[in-house]
Amino acid sequence: MKRWLLLLLPLGFVGIALFFYQGLGRDPTARDSALMARAFPAFEAVTLEDANRRVDETLLRGEVTLVNVWGEWCPACKQEMPQLLELADHGIRMVGVNYRDRREKGRAFLDEYGDPFELNIFDPEGSLGFDLGVYGAPETFLVDADGVIRYHHKGYIAPSDVQARILPEVEKWR
């Protein structure tokens, strides 16, 4: 056998090792939402605030909106509330999805931790959450003026994420 062919063996391994090296820095659980660049799913629901007010996906047309999926049972949602309030202070339109929650608990949560939302879509069965591909609250979606999902933040929004990630994305799609 030609000796240079054998040299392909260590080279091939170095190739695999490079992939390993790249993989080291990455979070294997991080991945984009399947809904990226697609229209916000159609839905019909009432709001958390008013059991008689019906809303649907047209709610999210006309203005860039941050849709935050939260629940009273979710500890990280409490911790990210100050950041959401800060985002609301920047004049961003915020809509909440009260996910798999009970009405009175959800309302008590907003009374206690603050309410940055224009309104909250009440989703006690998690059906809108399911259509959004939510698999653990909190999750945040940026929806542009045409109702298309442009950015997805999985999990807790850290204080540093506000300036570093969320605000630039909002500016980009405004």
Partner: protein
């Protein structure tokens, strides 16, 4: 006073072991280069010293666990004062730091054994082997001391109690599974060291393979048992009744097993016939490299798995460097020193040589398939091509046909002769076995289930095609010897090892086939005095109560099971536990094991009104999976006691003594 410094003693012992490893890595090799036998002789005492100090370090960590020294971070994070003593002792390797320490201890143990049993080998060979072993060992000791020190203290804020051992790990299977698996992984380092030593010395003759073969067999036996225990543990502990999930961590243990199996066979060819020389060396390098890669995959967090350790990129980076250096250097050495063209040893189409060639190629294809499926998501992600998952459907789709193909050749192998053999002779020998396998395999599902099933038939034909030719071969061999008793006695342990190994695979295959196709699973609602029937057994809940264990609360139920045929009854009690320290709920499965079927009852959610969801499973032949693995391991060990290895050792010993006064 003396007790308080135990962790520091352990830490110190680790450093001593590292120093000795470095001396052992450098001095004997320098001795070989400069032809100084005194330098070469440094290897054996250093190997022994390393083992002693690592054993001391390991005992120190165990002592910290048993004495509940929560000032040691490792103990505080993984133990609890309420834990029974045996789980305290096994908690040592239930975490990253402790398990690397165990790994290093075993490496030192294998290194010590390799140098103790090799006194009759040529000195330069032994010196090189010891050096290579010590290089690997030094790498791991550095890894422990720099990134994963198990003796780190939590001073001055010592917690009052520990965080507890993960309840999943509080179990007998997990007490024995990791040590067995590590023994296998690490054991291949000896074969690796022999291969590298042979490459360095330029002596790639059949001799090194004869020296390496017993080590390969023993390491392979440990790995086989380790994998089987892991599968058994997953079967009952993870509670889904599954026994293989194609999880990256499982795959990581399967990879060296596959190349290790190829290695065992290729070593046989090289020893007996002098061919496949480079190939054998490459397999020895690959097997240990894959063991190392498994360690990397499990501990670096690059892949998601149910079994992975809590990950840390800096550790991952260190192991990657260790892996990269070891594998690249050994492959480079191989590329530069592998024999250019071995003298051509001729063999024909139907010879044991060509059948073993096919066996090796198939096993390598299986290895590449598993490797590809395991790493493909990682590679795509690195190239920003998105996230995908590769799971059981992919692996099964490729593994089933490859295994059937492998079995087709396996049936021929033991009956074929080295070099060449006429097709007619082989046909005469095997037509009956083949016809028997076909008839029994095709009819069995009809008789067993009353309905024909392609997959069952395929699996059974393959298994029988392994077993029946072996039976025929044993009978043939005895016929030549005159009486049956004398014939059986004359067969060598190596031969019996082969028979047992192949038989083991057939047994596992039957288990896989039957349990995959005839498994019955029912999720039912049960309340006191409700009866359900599953696979001919009647399950009646008799009692539903609560109890308190040492570190958990449990809802427990008593199920009476009545067998349909003879009306025999027995009790099973599944449980649902809440572990107090972690607040983790766990389902305690009730298992009724049997050689031909397991009954499996797991308790689920409280459905309200005094009723519970229960999962009842009937798993025919599931024990055969692990029984087969035990047979395979027993076969590998049996082959080691063959006279051949001892005789050669003493003859060589005599020769060396004569040469060196």
């Amino acid at each position: 006073m003396a007790i308080e410094i135990i962790p520091e003693v352990g830490h110190f012992a680790l450093m001593m072991a590292l120093v000795m490893a470095i001396i052992q890595a450098v001095v004997p090799l320098a001795g070989v280069a400069t032809r100084r036998s005194l330098w070469m002789a440094y290897g054996a005492p250093m190997a022994a010293g390393q083992f002693v100090f690592l054993a001391l370090a390991y005992l120190c960590l165990s002592a910290s666990y048993l004495l509940d020294d929560f000032s040691v971070a490792n103990v505080a994070n993984n133990s609890n004062s309420l834990l029974p003593w045996y789980y305290k002792a096994s908690a040592v390797w239930g975490n990253h730091e402790g398990s690397v320490l165990l790994w290093s201890l075993m490496l030192a143990g294998w290194g010590f054994a390799a140098s103790a049993f090799s006194t009759s080998l040529p000195r330069d060979m032994v010196a090189r082997v010891q050096s290579v072993m010590a290089m690997v060992s030094a790498g791991f000791l550095l890894f422990i001391l720099l990134t994963s020190n198990p003796f780190e203290r939590l001073l001055p804020n010592v917690p009052a109690d520990g965080a507890d051992l993960n309840p999943l790990l509080q179990d007998f299977g997990l007490v024995v599974h990791p040590p067995m698996l590590y023994m296998g992984y690490v054991g291949f380092s000896v074969v690796f060291a022999f291969a590298i030593a042979a490459l360095m010395g330029g002596r790639l003759d059949a001799a090194w393979t004869r020296w390496a073969r017993p080590w390969a067999n023993v390491a392979w036996a440990f790995l086989t048992v380790g994998i089987a225990l892991g599968s058994w543990w997953a079967y009952y502990e993870l509670g889904w009744g599954g026994w293989w999930f194609w999880d990256p961590v499982e795959n990581a243990s399967l990879l060296p097993w596959l190349t290790g199996t190829a290695l065992l066979h290729s070593l046989a060819v090289t020893e007996k016939r002098g061919s496949f020389k480079s190939w054998t060396v490459l397999l020895a390098i690959s097997t240990f490299s894959l063991s190392l890669m498994g360690t990397f995959l499990v501990r670096s967090g690059v892949l998601t798995s149910v079994h992975a350790f809590a990950n840390d990129p800096s550790r991952g980076f260190f192991i990657l460097v260790l892996l990269g250096v070891t594998v690249t250097l050994s492959l480079l050495l191989f590329a530069l020193r592998a024999p250019r063209v071995s003298h051509r040893v001729g063999f024909g189409w139907l010879s044991r040589d060509s059948l073993l060639l096919v066996n090796n190629l198939l096993l390598v294809i299986m290895t590449v398939t598993v490797l590809l499926g395991t790493l493909y998501p990682l590679i795509l992600d690195s190239l920003n091509l998105g996230k995908i998952s590769v799971g059981p459907p992919y692996f099964n789709a490729l593994f089933v046909p490859l295994t059937v193909l492998l079995c087709a050749f396996m049936g021929l192998g033991p009956s074929a002769r080295w070099k060449r053999m006429g097709a007619r002779e082989l046909t005469t020998k095997l037509w009956l076995a083949g016809a028997g396998a076909l008839v029994i395999g095709v009819l069995a599902p009809l008789l067993y289930a009353g309905q024909w099933n392609l997959w069952v038939s395929l699996g059974l034909v393959a298994a029988l095609w392994i077993v029946l030719p072996l039976v025929r071969d044993v009978i043939d061999k005895c016929r030549h010897a005159g009486s049956l008793g004398r014939g059986l006695a004359r067969l060598s342990p190596a031969y019996w090892g082969m028979v047992l190994g192949h038989l083991g695979l057939a047994v596992t295959l039957v288990g896989v086939t039957v349990v995959s196709n005839y498994n019955v699973e029912r999720n039912v609602r049960m309340a006191p005095d409700v009866t359900v029937e599953v696979a001919g057994y009647q399950f009646t809940m008799r009692e539903l109560t609560s109890r308190r264990g040492p570190n958990f609360l449990a809802d427990t139920s008593l199920i009476e099971v009545r067998r349909g045929g003879d009306g025999r009854t027995f009790m099973m009690h599944p449980e649902k536990r809440l572990y107090l320290a972690t607040g983790m709920p766990m389902t305690q499965v009730a298992l009724r094991p049997g050689l031909f079927r397991d009954l499996y009852v797991a308790m689920g959610e409280d459905l309200g009104g005094g009723s519970y969801a229960m999962r009842i499973q009937y798993k025919p032949f599931v024990r055969w999976l692990w029984l087969g693995a035990l047979l395979m391991a027993a076969g590998a060990v049996l082959a080691v006691i063959d006279k051949r290895y001892r005789r050669v050792a003493t003859r060589r010993g005599a020769a060396t003594r004569r040469v060196t006064p």
